[in-house]
């Protein structure tokens, strides 16, 4: 730590001083003029609550939200990977109509704000799908059962299942456009000679894609896909707008009921940061290891 500070020269100290003064001022404003009383000691209870009658710990509002965010991110990324792969292959299709359709989808999503896209997907698509499949009633049925622990582990509170599914579908459709672009870039990075060699030993178009192009493309797209996964976790916060009970939505609820504006939002920011930063370090390590091979 001392060696770290020895590297500092006078401009570094000036910058550091200015920053500290700035944050100090903000701190002072909150303390003084807003007359805000910090209640950090209440936050742990909203993460892991103590059930006084049953005498057990239970996941309280923030941890529930975190759980939902993780579930949604995992399911949505699996779905986005499937849609995205189809989209990426469609973008490289020799058929003009298929290529144009995929391109249209991509350009629409790229040039409309995510919030607007999410509302449109929610009202036009996922809501219709949920009504059509009658998921609402099915989920309520499971929620009423006694031994629904497995369901609850995978999907959280079953009464909220339709909204979770809506969130997953909406997020997956949105992210699939970007996954599709990554897949397309991966496919097109495979030299033409590979396809010609595959064709010259008599492979069909499908075999060529399946045995020669995709296995090679997969290796190239893993790092950008990992980054996209991290983006997806962050983007999932938008789902709070369509009342999906994930971390941001739960934080809004907490803020509304307890008025702990700063504590709640800082805690939530910390959750997102730890997950996303942790994952990005983890992926970086994997990448390094596979490079060494």
């Amino acid at each position: 730590m001392i060696r770290f500070f020895q590297k500092f020269r006078w401009p570094d100290w000036v910058i550091l001083g200015v920053l500290m003064a700035f944050f100090g001022y903000i701190w002072f404003t909150i303390e003084g003029s807003l007359n805000y009383s910090w209640r950090w000691h209440l936050i742990p209870n909203y993460i892991l609550g103590w059930h006084t009658t049953r005498e057990v710990y239970f996941a309280n509002i923030l941890l529930q939200g975190l759980g939902a965010t993780i579930r949604i991110s995992v399911y949505a990324s699996v779905l986005a990977l499937i849609f995205g792969t189809i989209l990426g292959i469609a973008r490289c299709s020799s058929n003009l109509t298929i290529r144009m359709l995929a391109r249209t989808y991509l350009e629409l999503l790229r040039n409309i704000p995510p919030v607007v896209v999410i509302f449109i997907f929610f009202f036009f698509l996922s809501q219709q799908l949920i009504d059509f499949l009658n998921l609402e009633r099915w989920a309520r049925g499971i929620a009423r059962q006694d031994n629904n622990a497995v369901w609850e582990f995978f999907f959280g509170e079953m009464r909220r299942f339709p909204s979770l599914i809506a969130g997953v579908i909406v997020l997956a459709l949105f992210e699939s456009a970007f996954v599709g672009e990554i897949i397309r870039a991966g496919i097109q990075s495979i030299p033409k000679g590979q396809r010609e060699a595959a064709r010259s030993i008599g492979m069909s178009h499908g075999q060529e894609l399946r045995y020669i192009v995709l296995p090679q493309a997969v290796r190239k797209v893993v790092p950008p896909l990992a980054n996209q996964f991290i983006s997806l976790i962050k983007d999932s916060a938008i789902l709070s707008l369509i009342s999906v009970q994930e971390l941001t939505y739960k934080t809004l609820e907490l803020v509304a009921s307890s008025r702990m504006i700063f504590e709640a939002w800082l805690t939530t920011a910390g959750f997102y940061f730890v997950i996303c930063f942790g994952l990005s370090r983890l992926f970086a390590r994997f990448e390094k290891r596979s490079d060494n091979r």
Binding site: P191, E196, A197, A198, R199, S200, Q216
Partner: protein
């Protein structure tokens, strides 16, 4: 050679890339068992021509009959035909994500539907034929250029093809590796395979060619036996070209 059955017959073949006339009125017949060497300056259309022979490029007009079947862009038979026509590329084009053995097995297994055991047997047989059985479990990147090209030849052979096309197979190789590839090709020629080879290796041509073809600017300028081709070519352009490449 004229008593053998024709296996590739091109008549009045024309090919355009946009406005560029890549192949001009090509008439060429390859007979079963024939070894044909095509040479000519770069851009003369020789690669384009043999790429037409296995459907990597399509001619715009004229007819191309391979093994009794007329092929064109819409023809469904091309895929089946490709299994009979092997191709060796200048840049080897081995599959980098597969080992040498897997490179040889994937065609027979996925296209010819052989079992893994049968495919491996075939693969090892042809790996022996190209003299690198010990490299079976390596990845292509670990092999020298010459070894990679021999694997590529074996990959085509594993499909039990009846015609082999070579598109400048030694042009991307370091000089000391050219001979090991040419040796394999000479052995292949002696086994009776029908071969169409685009190359400037005139030593190889002298050794195995039945027919020499000289192309320039998309046209076939000369078709003759190697004896006549190397001693008294009938066209002036061909003689100039030979002087240039044989001078050193």
């Amino acid at each position: 050679m004229s008593d053998a059955k024709p296996i590739i017959e091109a008549t009045h073949l024309d090919k355009f890339y946009g406005d560029f006339h890549a192949l001009k009125d090509i008439d060429l017949t390859v007979h079963q068992g024939e070894k044909m060497v095509i040479c000519g300056p770069s851009g003369s259309g020789k690669s384009t021509l043999i790429r037409c022979f296995n459907g990597l490029e399509w001619h715009n007009s004229g007819t191309l009959v391979i093994d009794g079947i007329e092929v064109h862009e819409q023809s469904k038979q091309m895929r089946g035909l490709r299994q009979e026509v092997g191709m060796v590329f200048q840049q080897f084009n081995l599959f980098p994500h597969l080992t040498v053995l897997e490179n040889l097995m994937i065609g027979p297994m996925k296209v010819r539907r052989l079992t893994r055991g049968q495919a491996e047997e075939t693969a090892r047989k042809y790996l022996d034929r190209v003299h690198i059985p010990e490299q079976a479990d390596k990845y292509p990147a670990a092999l020298s250029g010459g070894q990679q090209q021999r694997v590529a030849i074996a990959r085509s052979l594993c499909m039990e093809t009846r015609i082999m096309l070579f598109d400048e197979p030694t042009s991307a190789l370091d000089p000391e590796m050219i001979n090991e590839v040419l040796d394999v090709m000479v052995e292949l020629a002696h086994s009776g395979m029908t071969m169409v080879v685009v190359t400037h290796e005139m030593g190889f041509a002298r050794k195995v060619a039945d027919t020499m073809v000289f192309m320039e600017q998309g046209e076939i300028v000369e078709v003759s036996s190697p004896d006549r081709f190397f001693t008294s070519p009938s066209s002036e352009r061909c003689r100039l070209f030979l002087n240039q490449i044989l001078e050193y």
